[in-house]
Amino acid sequence: MSNAAPVFEVSDAWVRLGNSDVLRGVDFAQRPGEFVVLLGPNGSGKTTLVKALLGVVRLVRGRRSVFGHDLDTFRHWDRIGYVPQRVTAAAGVPATVGEVVLSGRAAKVGLLGRYGSEDRAAVARALDLVDLAPLATARVETLSGGQQQRVLIARALATNPEVLVMDEPVASVDLAHQESFARTLGELHRGGTSILLVAHSLGAMEPLAQRALVIERGVVIHDGAPDAAAVQEHAHPHHADHEPR
């Protein structure tokens, strides 16, 4: 199929941060509609791989493309929703939940444009998806950690992206919310959204994930069925409680 270019593709990707090679020849391609969980111990290069796919960090070697386009010429960033690792959704100045989610569409409206009814409808839809619609006018910093996390996810969903990239979104979310979060992701995925999720462990995502990519010391050590990845995890135990940030 000609229109089925991979969502993200890297081949022989090398990333150097400071004096160490954080990624050492990673090959990865995510097919459209695929739900991929990216696993690995702390410091294995998971976050760096995500940043490499998104063009936030430079490759010292290798090739990468987004939706079949070279990253340098790719312009349709609204096709990607990104939720980076963050402790809170609050900033130095008060902002409402609605404002933070609306800011996800800032690039879409153009520098001289104004938010219109389409933008507000998209925000309402995104807030609905993460069950935060009643809190649209609340101040972000008054929300719990789990709710703030959902604000950031709604922000990423505000452009109606074809792929949702999330870096450890459930790190600060309790178990009950992890399950409701998994339901939300399942819903999005069934609707055709590709998902790339960085996590410590499969946890509540196990029934949803179609593929697991496990990296360790910057190298892919497993790429395939998620249950096998679960086995890998036992071989490399880590302690979620001691995860920094």
């Binding site: 936030v56 980076p84 800032a106 690039a107 938010y115 006018t137």
Partner: protein, 268 residues
């Protein structure tokens, strides 16, 4: 005595109100990024610019603008590099501003009076030429921050997300740096180099005690800034005080009142 009958007071009140509007409109993005002291840093560089103007015999407001812009762009470029040493580099720029300014003044025969007028402001001596520069700079700053506030909000909120979303983060950050420089340079004329940051930060800090949204913080801080500058000048006139002192003390007073209102509302 009618305050509006005096031409120098009319000019001072106009300059004060304009600066009061522009300073928080750019200051809010500094506060949001937790760069509240950026204004102070640029203020130091403005001092050197003023000294250069006095020595060269050019209207100091022009050299202040030039030096402030150069300093702000340098600070922003250092920040973008993201090196841990940028903190030290920032400090170096502050010291360079003051030491360089004193050095330049030593080259000429500038009186201590001229010096203190720029340290503490000299709004009562605003010339028509100064007023034109102040008006252009402040109105441009307010217009640009107002039009671009949703993009600037997105960037100040999270640069990485904004970059991935496709916003021109580097250019817009440089734009904010330049607007900050321009605002600091003209605000220094009103409240002086030492207190310039107060007008950028205090109205925002006051507004955020009472607001829930970014939008209302933006408009409220602009209104508070204009009120503090205007009323501070009026108070200075009738009490025969330094305008910089009354403007900033009034701003602090408004902050205390706003905080008290918030606390008594029970919003902790």
């Amino acid at each position: 005595m009618d305050i509006f009958a005096l031409e120098f007071m009319r000019k001072a009140l106009l300059a004060g109100a304009l600066v009061g509007v522009a300073a928080p409109s750019v200051g809010i993005f500094l506060v949001q990024r937790r760069l509240s002291l950026m204004g102070d840093g640029i203020g130091h560089v403005v001092f050197m610019g003023v000294a250069a103007g006095l020595v060269l015999g050019i209207a100091p407001i022009y050299t202040a603008l030039l030096f402030a812009t150069g300093g702000a762009v340098t600070i922003e470029l250092l920040r973008q590099r993201g090196k841990t040493s940028s903190d030290v580099a920032l400090a170096l720029i502050f010291y360079l501003g003051i030491a360089g300014g004193i050095f330049l003044l030593g080259l000429g025969d500038t009186s201590a009076l001229q010096l203190s007028s720029y340290l503490f402001g000299s709004v009562l001596t605003v010339s028509s030429g100064d007023l034109v520069v102040v008006a252009v700079a402040t109105m441009a700053t307010f217009l640009v921050t107002h039009v671009l506030r949703k993009h600037l909000f997105a960037i100040a909120y999270d640069e990485e997300i904004a970059r991935v979303a496709g916003l021109p983060v580097t250019s817009l950050n440089l734009l904010v740096a330049v607007l900050t420089a321009v605002t600091v340079a003209v605000t220094a004329k009103v409240v002086g180099v030492l207190l310039v940051s107060a007008l950028l930060v205090l109205p925002v800090a006051t507004a955020q005690q009472l607001s829930r949204s970014f939008r209302s913080t933006f408009y409220l801080s602009v209104a508070i800034g204009a009120l503090a500058a205007f009323a501070g000048l009026v108070i200075a006139f009738y009490t025969d005080q330094f305008p910089a002192a009354t403007i900033v003390l009034l701003s602090i007073g408004l902050f205390v009142v706003a905080t008290t209102i918030r606390v008594t509302r029970g919003e902790g």
